[in-house]
């Protein structure tokens, strides 16, 4: 008896009841109106990897997929793209109070008695038709600036890594909300039934902060929308391969049977998560074939290897992940999320950032060139950036050839390329110290709104009701930066 009541309770939870009855009656009415069985199928709720909740976008999508090259740790804008010749004059002097203002600093410099400004140890040069300034650490990126839209005026609310990454990936500093890729999967569905909609690949630079898998979680959205992490090595997706001795046909039969039982359970319990489970089993089975094929780069010609650099031969490197990102994009995976850690240079920044640049510069640029020659930059959006910037004053001791920089949410640089973004553009300005934004500020939510816009989604209209209110990626914020749209 107790069991029966519990079952009824789960089955008829108010929200699920409404959801089911709403959709049920709606689809019933519509299918009888249209008089076709096929149509009834087309409008059953998106529980599989077919169509998304939106069906098609709110407006025609310039971007069909996104490759997000997340530079985790907070790359210094001052040694990458935000050239500040004025700091030559100010080098070693205290940062003026008028500049520092009330912007908060992290606790890590709380005990510091002096805040000497420090110029970039690395030179800058202008590149391309657009004349964008790029540091000498990024020679390959310098060559592709005419394909990039460099945004120098991004700012965030968070000052520490995890909340800052969460804010970028889920729109909220508090973990638990759905990530960008999950929202896209939920809203737009899949273009390839054999691969997940949302793939995550990580690579590690020196001494990186750990990554939290919640930053590719699905939050309150059905769990099959979460990011699937591809690892390097023998098993790109953990526990995907059949155990030794189990034949693919046997596995298929077993899964079919499990599916039947799951359907039965769904009829009894009515829990939508059971549908997620069915989907995940099916996807896993299909991925047993599709993943090994996708991550196999042995067919790539030599000139492609050369383009991405020596590292591409090392599984788990950033370069390898960039090449895999292109291959996944070719297979129409909607959201391809790379993380490269190690940008957190509180101390010994000159050495640290040089190594990071060496690991990432060539492959990032190669990815752009590779997508471009294939015509894929037409409908693939590539994003490069970290979770915050770094201070223009030195953290730790400033010596002749060494310094550090602390976290800085006030301004930092990102770039975007491809699909509907103006190429060869530099957007936004910071002050002479790269401490405050002085023109065209772009908040994290504005960036997200713009990205959604490019994907054909009105960020205010892709919502999910949870705990009594509707949530969206940008929650109650965000405006599309129209100026950078082509």
């Amino acid at each position: 008896m107790k069991n029966y009541l519990e079952q009824k309770m789960v089955q008829e939870s108010r929200r699920d009841f409404l959801k089911k009855s709403g959709l049920g009656l709606g689809s019933l009415a519509l299918s009888s109106m249209m008089g076709g069985k096929a149509f009834a199928n087309a409008i059953t709720p998106n529980l599989g990897n077919g169509g998304g909740i939106l069906g098609t976008g709110h407006f025609p999508a310039k971007a069909k997929r996104v490759i997000y090259l997340f530079q985790s740790g907070g790359p210094s804008q001052l040694e990458t793209f935000d050239y500040k010749p004025a700091l030559d004059k100010w080098h070693g002097q205290e940062i003026p109070d008028s500049i520092r203002g009330t912007q908060r600093n992290s606790g890590m410099v709380a005990n510091q008695s002096t805040f000497p400004l420090v110029r970039s140890m690395y030179d800058f040069k202008q590149h391309g038709q657009s004349g964008a300034w790029v540091s000498e650490l990024f020679p390959h990126t310098g060559k592709i600036v005419d394909d990039l839209c460099i945004v120098k005026s991004v700012y965030t609310d968070a000052i520490n890594h995890e909340p800052a990454v969460m804010l970028f990936q889920t729109g909220s500093m508090i973990s638990g909300r759905p990530s960008i890729g999950s929202w896209l999967s939920y809203g737009l569905g899949s273009d390839n039934e054999n691969l997940p909609n949302f793939v995550v690949m990580t690579s590690h630079g020196g001494g990186g902060q750990p990554l939290n898998s919640l930053s590719w979680g699905s939050g309150f959205l059905p769990s099959h929308h979460q990011g699937v992490q591809f690892r390097s090595g023998e098993e790109p997706v953990l526990f995907l391969n059949n155990p030794h001795g189990v034949h693919r046909e046997d596995r298929k039969r077993a899964l079919d049977h499990i599916k039947e039982m799951n359907h039965h359970q769904f009829d009894v319990w009515g829990d939508p998560e059971i549908n997620s489970k069915i989907n995940q089993y099916e996807m896993a089975f299909r991925m047993q074939a599709s993943v090994p094929e996708t991550v196999d780069i042995s067919n790539e010609p030599d000139h492609i290897y050369e383009m991405y650099g020596e590292d591409v031969k090392k599984p788990g490197s950033y370069a390898r992940n960039c090449l895999l990102a292109r291959k996944l994009a070719e297979k129409d995976v909607k959201f391809i999320q790379l993380y490269h850690t190690g940008w957190d240079q509180h101390l010994h920044l000159p050495r640290g950032i040089r190594n990071q640049a060496k690991d990432t510069d060539q492959a990032s640029a190669a990815l752009i060139k590779d997508l471009k020659q294939r015509g894929m930059l037409e409908d693939t959006l590539v994003i490069w950036g970290g979770e915050f910037g770094r201070t223009s004053f030195s953290q730790g001791k400033l010596t002749k050839d060494d310094y550090g920089r602390d976290h800085h949410p006030g301004c930092f640089t990102m770039w975007m390329a491809g699909a509907g973004v103006k190429p060869g553009m530099v957007y936004g300005e910071t002050d002479d110290f790269s401490y405050n934004v002085v023109k065209d500020p772009v908040h994290v939510h504005d960036f997200q709104a713009t990205m959604m816009h490019l994907l054909g989604i009105d960020h205010e209209r892709l919502t999910h009701k949870y705990q009594g209110r509707r949530f969206r990626l940008t929650d109650v914020h965000g405006k599309v930066i129209k100026d950078i749209l082509s």
Partner: protein, 460 residues
Amino acid sequence: MMSDLYLFFGRFHPLFVHLPIGFILIAAILEAYSILFKVKQELFSLSIKITLLVSFISSVLAVTLGLLLANKGGYDTEALSWHKWMGIGFTVLALLLWLTKAGYLNINKRINSLLLMGAILVISITGHYGGNLTHGSDYLLTYAPEVVKSIFGAEHKTDKKGATLPTSIDSIVVYAHLIQPLLEHKCYSCHNSTKAKGGLDLSNIDGIKKGGETGAVIYAGESDDSPLFNLTILPPKDPKFMPPKGEALTYAEIKMLQWWINAGASFENSIKETALTDEVIALLKRDYDVDVVPKPYYEEHPIAVLDSSVIGEMKRVGWAVKPLSSEVNYLQVSGKGKVMNARMLAALEKAKAHITWLDVSNMSLTDAVIQELGNLENLTQLLLNNNNITNAGLEQLQRLKRLEVLNLYNNSISDAGLQLLENNSALKKVYIWQTQVSVEGAEELKENIPSVEIIGGSLR
């Protein structure tokens, strides 16, 4: 120094000009009343006498101040001359009327009445010329109904900003539709053919070209040196700031002037013939409702929704089909990676007007199949990459007049094939990586279609 003092007093002219008018009207009304109702009271007659005297005295004052004001110049001489002599004439009439009424002069009563009416007529004409001098000759009738305008032969004016702009961007002439209206709104009242302050008449092209007393007002290409622009961006308190009275130019108007002058200050060129900047594009959109950003084909030519049974069939035979958006009924269709068959091809034909983005990459397509794609009249994006297409296949694509993006990478296309596309003038991007197209071949197509970008050639 003296002339400044003249001007100081002269500017009280508008204050006094209304007194003689008012008093002569009162006198006329009282006179008419006394004749009509045969009023014989002495007091009534005295009132008329006093009114006429005040009208005369104030008219002397007005004429004197007017002469001081006119001393400075800058007015249309003909209109000024009429205004001046009519004003003086009125003063004389007012004097005669008063003298008669006061009994110093004996004039026949009938003639006296005629004189009074004449005085009112004369003062009306004087007032009209005065109004034209300050407000411009077209001030009165600008907003008059068409019928009234035609009676008085006033020109047809199109002054409501934006309201009369041609709908086609090609036919918007920068001067006639954007610059002339703003000059009319903000500058004509002082710089017209009748008033021409500073010797400058902005109401016609010759006047603008001629400039004013201090020289030219526009130097083509040099907005910073052109007074027409640079006086509008002075601090409003600067004595040279234009316009000195009335509404200042808006930001957009200032930018329009700057843009027009920098682009050569042509009086004939249309928007399309004038180099645009991002800011001007944005302002045209915001303040003039002119969208010069070329719109995608699907937006400019909306299409009705396609029968869902056709879409259903396309899906059944293997196509992935989606409308471009919930509001745009054109279709994006992909068969990427599948094997093309006759049924798939036939299904395309049924949606031929609706398909605008088509991805048939990696489908082992041969020339025979490509020919069928020539029927998809509204294709704007065609991804043919990674197939077995040769030059012959491209022949049929000549029919795709709206094609903007064509991906040919990894096919057996050579220069000769690319040249077949020379009349596809809508083309913006052609991808030719891993084809046999040479740099020269790419250049040749660019000569025929200057806007096309050919991508991937040097990376082969």
